[in-house]
């Protein structure tokens, strides 16, 4: 008596073939249905909750993938901390090599004659930065029109400098080693840890962080309470800014970006 064609092994093989085929067909569909990673611009109509670093029960970042990024439309703050009142305004822009172009504008309540710079402890931005060693290079400091010399123009350890008595100074530098790639994720997706290199200021001094670039996706403030961590809001079409200033003692921002292409 011959075995029936619908025996258990045959049924298993048939089911197996169906499942394998279904997955392969889905693979083809997923390949053609998934958009290529393109430079993304933040949808300015949303609150742009942080996609990474944000709590799971909050709305994810609304990101509009646009084939052609919109024209630049950055609105730099004309008032507020570091500009018209005591505080620090930090403006950072991601560069194609994963570094950041950063400037810090500082306005103090009382004049100072010394300036201290120190590498940021970006491990505070999250465990993924535990191995990161940020370095500020091409450091330029100016008090009014007068430049202040920083040895080797770099900050890899604490540096102090005497400056003319002032309530205002400005620092610009290239920040390296502060970006990690998000894995698994789309190509060029990363998170940058942004903190001032200016050190020794009043822990309560308000700090505003603005991240400029068409590939900035979200800002997260890891040292705030869970409900406040999605701390960025759109500033024009191609920038995000903190919705509320941070105290200097908690001025840590994780910016999710697509590292710009050359």
């Amino acid at each position: 008596m011959s075995r029936p064609q619908y025996s258990l092994p045959n049924l298993r093989r048939f089911l197996g073939a169906c499942v394998v085929t279904a997955f392969l067909v889905t693979a083809v569909a997923a390949y053609y249905g998934t958009p290529e990673p393109l430079p993304a611009s933040v949808d300015t109509t949303s609150d742009a909750a942080a996609a990474t670093g944000g709590p799971a029960d909050q709305a994810p970042a609304t990101v509009t993938i646009e084939p052609e990024p919109t024209a630049a439309g950055v609105e730099l703050p004309s008032e507020g901390p570091g500009v018209s009142e005591p505080g620090l305004l930090l403006i950072a822009a991601p560069l194609p090599d994963g570094t950041w172009d950063v400037s810090e504008q500082v306005m103090l309540a009382k004049p100072t004659t010394s300036l201290t710079l120190a590498p940021a402890d970006i491990s505070r931005a999250g465990s993924q930065f535990g191995f990161a060693r940020p370095e500020a290079t091409s450091v330029q400091v100016s008090v009014g029109e007068q430049p202040v010399v920083i040895p080797e123009a770099r900050v890899i350890e604490q540096v102090s400098a005497d400056i003319p008595s002032t309530t205002r100074f400005e620092i610009s530098y290239r920040l390296d080693g502060a970006t990690v790639t998000t894995v698994p994720s789309t190509a060029r997706r990363g998170i940058g840890a942004i903190m001032p290199v200016t050190s020794g200021l009043d822990p309560d001094l308000p700090v505003v962080v603005m991240v400029v670039g068409e590939t900035v996706l979200s800002l997260s403030c890891p040292e705030l309470s869970l409900s406040e961590r999605n701390c960025g809001t759109a500033a024009g079409d191609e920038a995000m800014i903190l919705a509320e200033p941070l105290p200097f003692g908690a001025a840590v921002v994780a910016a999710q970006i697509d590292i710009p292409r050359l």
């Binding site: 693979a27 249905g33 996609a51 709590p55």
Partner: protein
């Protein structure tokens, strides 16, 4: 969930994925290239089933962590290639699960090696497609190196696990004089491939020797190399020991008229086997260290 736990969750998931892949691909490779007669060994079957289960869990859990916990969208998590790779891997795992019975029911020789080896290569390819080898400069070098690295890892580490699973119960010592030389060839080839591809891949990812030695990625890479070196020493010691034990067991079994008594003495007792088990256990522990440092390398890889 605390966002700081996200990298931890992804890291744990990655270790599960690597472990599952090593178990599954290692056992399939071991059956196909080293010991086809062991296809019905219960321990190897358990290893392969565990490998299928762990790889499937990690393959599904990875995107779920990103989408549900990190709040990312499908388009943020996947590129077209990595999305396709996900489903191709699931297809390969389904093939492994549904056709495992067919694989072990017949001698895994000649053309019957095609199915298990195709499954291994398919899963390895999906891991490469989801890795940082895709894109950027030196893409072809990185892709080839990573593919060689992933397959050699399965052949060596997975084979080692399979060998331990066969050795430790001491049921097949008489066959070890055939199995160990075959495995030694696979292991030696794999070690050479791992050294070459690992170095090439690290240089390509870091962007050059200077960049490699001065970066965090380089530090973790050299830690991995040191652990790898320790494993080589341990493996060399263990395999020499295994070879000696196997030869003595086989010779004694052939020579003695009281073969069964002597065989039992040699295979089920004595300090030799205990030492060997300790050596292989240490080797496997070091192998786990390599998996951990490999998953750590992903986090510190330069962009």
């Amino acid at each position: 969930m605390n966002p700081d736990l996200l990298p931890l969750a992804l890291g744990i998931n990655r270790v599960i994925l690597y472990s599952g892949y090593v178990l599954l691909a290692g056992t399939f490779t071991f059956w196909s290239l080293v010991w086809p007669q062991g296809r019905k060994d219960r321990h190897l079957l358990i290893l392969s089933i565990a490998g299928i289960a762990l790889t499937t869990i990690a393959t599904v859990a990875g995107p779920m962590i990103d989408i549900w916990i990190a709040g990312m969208t499908w388009a943020e998590v996947f590129s077209p290639i990595s999305a396709a790779a996900l489903f191709v891997r699931l297809a390969a795992l389904a093939a492994a699960a549904f056709f495992l019975v067919d694989i072990v029911n017949y001698p895994i020789a000649s053309w019957r090696r095609a199915l298990p080896l195709t499954i291994v290569v398919a899963i390895a390819a999906t891991m490469v497609a989801s890795s940082n080898a895709v894109g950027g400069p030196w893409e072809v070098v990185k892709l080839v190196a990573t593919m060689g690295h992933v397959i050699a890892t399965a052949a060596w580490l997975g084979g080692l696990v399979a060998l331990a699973a066969v050795l430790i119960p001491r049921q097949y010592l008489a066959e070890l004089d055939k199995v160990i030389p075959r495995f030694s060839i696979i292991a030696a080839t794999s070690v050479v491939v791992l050294l070459v591809t690992g170095t090439l891949h690290a240089l390509a990812i870091a962007g050059g020797f200077q960049e490699l030695v001065t970066s965090d990625y380089g530090i973790v890479f050299f830690i991995k190399v040191a652990i790898f070196g320790a494993m080589l020493l341990m493996g060399n010691h263990g395999r020499k020991y295994a070879n000696g034990v196997a030869l003595r067991a086989a010779a004694a079994a052939r020579a003695s008229k009281e073969a069964k008594i002597n065989h039992d003495k040699l295979t089920k007792g004595g300090p030799g086997m205990h030492s060997l088990a300790v050596a292989m256990g240490a080797e496997l522990a070091i192998a786990f260290g390599i998996l951990l440092t490999t998953s750590l390398l992903v986090f510190v890889a330069p962009h």
